[in-house]
Amino acid sequence: MTNLLVIAEHDHATLKAATLNTVTAARNIGGEIHLLVAGNHCAGAATASAKIPGIAKVLQVDADHYARHLAEDLAVLIAGLAKDYSHVLAPATTFGKNLMPRVAALLDVTQLSDIVGVENADTFVRPIYAGSMLATVRCSAPVTVITVRGTAFAAAASEGGAAPIETVPAAPPLGVTRFVGQELTTSERPELTAARIVVSGGRGMGSGEGFKLLEDIADKIGAAVGASRAAVDAGFVPNDYQIGQTGKIVAPELYIAVGISGAIQHLAGMKDSKIIVAINKDEEAPIFQIADYGLVGDLFKVLPELSAELDKLPPA
């Protein structure tokens, strides 16, 4: 019998979208699924979790020392609960990537990172070498600890279920780490990993000012704005814009890459997008090899034209 524990990523009040993709991966493995919501005053997130169809039980844990989701403290809690489960899963976000190896080590088991496919309860597919290769691996650990790549699994429904919520006691704090502060990027635009359309800029944007042209386009089509590593390293935009192997993985319906040459590390973060558009003045740029629509031209001329064309477009 498989019993699966999914670790919810949340802000105490609401669930983060990646949790729903992780639930789908758990369903593909099969078995009874419990969802752990650990935080402080996280009844809101627990209630939202209970509405996901197919969840057998929600475990809610509230404690001061879970308020900031510190991996050091959460790992002790999860490792304690994990003995009752065959699988423990979390989203492969910076939250899950920080936390789950720590959980696995406390359980003395290996961990599977960033799975993109479930073959059966012990065999999984995961990308290696920046996604240029897919490895099928079998895990023989007594508890299988997994992080799930959200873009590889559809989001589970967020309404329709009515799972019971059980309160679970907190584990003691480890007390080695103290939260100091957070500097979050605020934006009116959709969240990058959940957006239906992503407009992304590279070194070719030339400056943070160049990105204003992209933001103008993004706002006309309801898109999120992303960037290549080169654009982030150049200081045009903050780190959380980065799409690629070491940044965010996105797979929107439409991805518009502007002034991005298409290094493999960038492609790793976006090549599963449904439709890819590339705008670049270098017609030899590798990005054109994977683009459905390529437009060779100077982006500082093309973007204003694109903006004007979008203005002319009648409502869909």
């Binding site: 991996a71 910076t94 990537k97 920080n98 190896p101 720590r102 696995a104 080590a105 003395d108 088991v109 290996t110 961990q111 599977l112 990172s113 960033d114 065999t123 290696i128 070498y129 996604g131 240029s132 290769m133 490895a135 099928t136 691996v137 079998r138 023989s140 650990a141 480890l174 080695v176 780490t177 100091v180 957070q182 500097e183 979050l184 990027t185 359309i197 982030v232 903050p238 780190n239 959380d240 070491t246 439409l254 493999i264 449904k274 439709i275 890819i276 558009v277 994977i290 683009a291 459905d292 629509y293 437009l295 031209g297 093309v302 034209e305 694109l306 064309e309 979008l310 477009l313 869909a316």
Partner: protein
């Protein structure tokens, strides 16, 4: 203050890799190997802490085949003081690497361990967090800035929404993200000097660690390829295609 840095030897960043003909793994025979780029950032950070006068000794360690000595020499050329190779036949799983590093930590008693956040071959992103768990230490994963104090280290971490700052009690484990620093270009005299720095070799048995395996790779294959599409002449044609042909805007 002593800093331990762990480095991995991987297929060079610029090399395109292919699956072996039988699909059992990745072909790495006769392929250029280098230090994992994130580990290079880890070494650079340790050297900078020493240059700031905050660290006094840097020990660099690698786990794997005897050719890992090359990446250890590279780290010594960057400014590490001495090196330890734990020799194994192949690269063990992250949990085993973490256990070997834990044993090294117990021998060397560093105040800080710095690793790269992930290796660019298996893309696991696990070893640092696992080591911190085994030691019961705090972890500053995906670090983009370090401020090293006497009792604590303050770490700015790259997270999905932006940046987070945490303070870890020392000793602690740090994993380096891309923007922590830009590794230096190593000059020839330092490469020559590195050849004379001490490099010790140990076996896993010396450290009391058994090389267990919990993962079996059944198959390695290339993902389905995307085909190049068409070129459009201008913005008007692009908008027309997106609206009428694929209906995404």
């Amino acid at each position: 203050m002593k800093i331990l840095v762990a480095v991995k030897r991987v297929v060079d960043y610029n090399v395109k890799v292919y699956p072996k003909a039988d699909g059992s793994g990745v072909e790495i025979a006769n392929v250029k190997m280098s230090m994992n780029p994130f580990d290079e950032i880890a070494v650079e950070e340790a050297v900078r802490q020493k240059e700031l006068g905050k660290a006094t000794e840097i020990v660099v360690a690698s786990i794997g085949v005897s050719q890992c000595q090359e990446v250890l020499r590279a780290a010594l050329a960057m400014g590490a003081d001495r090196a330890i190779l734990v020799e194994t036949d192949a690269a063990p799983e992250p949990l085993v690497v973490a256990k070997l590093l834990k044993a090294l930590v117990e021998r060397e008693q560093p105040n800080l361990v710095i690793l790269g956040k992930q290796a660019i071959d298996d893309d696991c992103n696990q070893t640092g967090q696992m080591l911190a768990a085994l030691l019961g230490w705090g972890q500053g994963a995906f670090a983009s800035k370090l401020t090293l104090g006497e009792q604590e280290i303050e770490v700015i971490r790259e997270i999905d929404g932006g940046l987070e700052t945490v303070a870890l009690k020392l000793p602690a484990v740090i994993t380096a993200d891309l923007r922590l620093n830009e590794p230096r270009y190593v000059k020839l005299p330092n490469i020559m000097k590195a050849k004379k720095k001490p490099l010790a070799t140990l076996n896993p048995g010396d450290l009391g660690v058994v090389l267990a395996t919990q993962l079996t790779t059944l198959k390695v294959a290339e993902p389905p390829k995307r085909e190049a599409g068409i070129k459009v002449a201008d913005a008007a044609e692009l908008v027309a295609k997106l609206r009428n042909d694929v209906k995404v805007i």
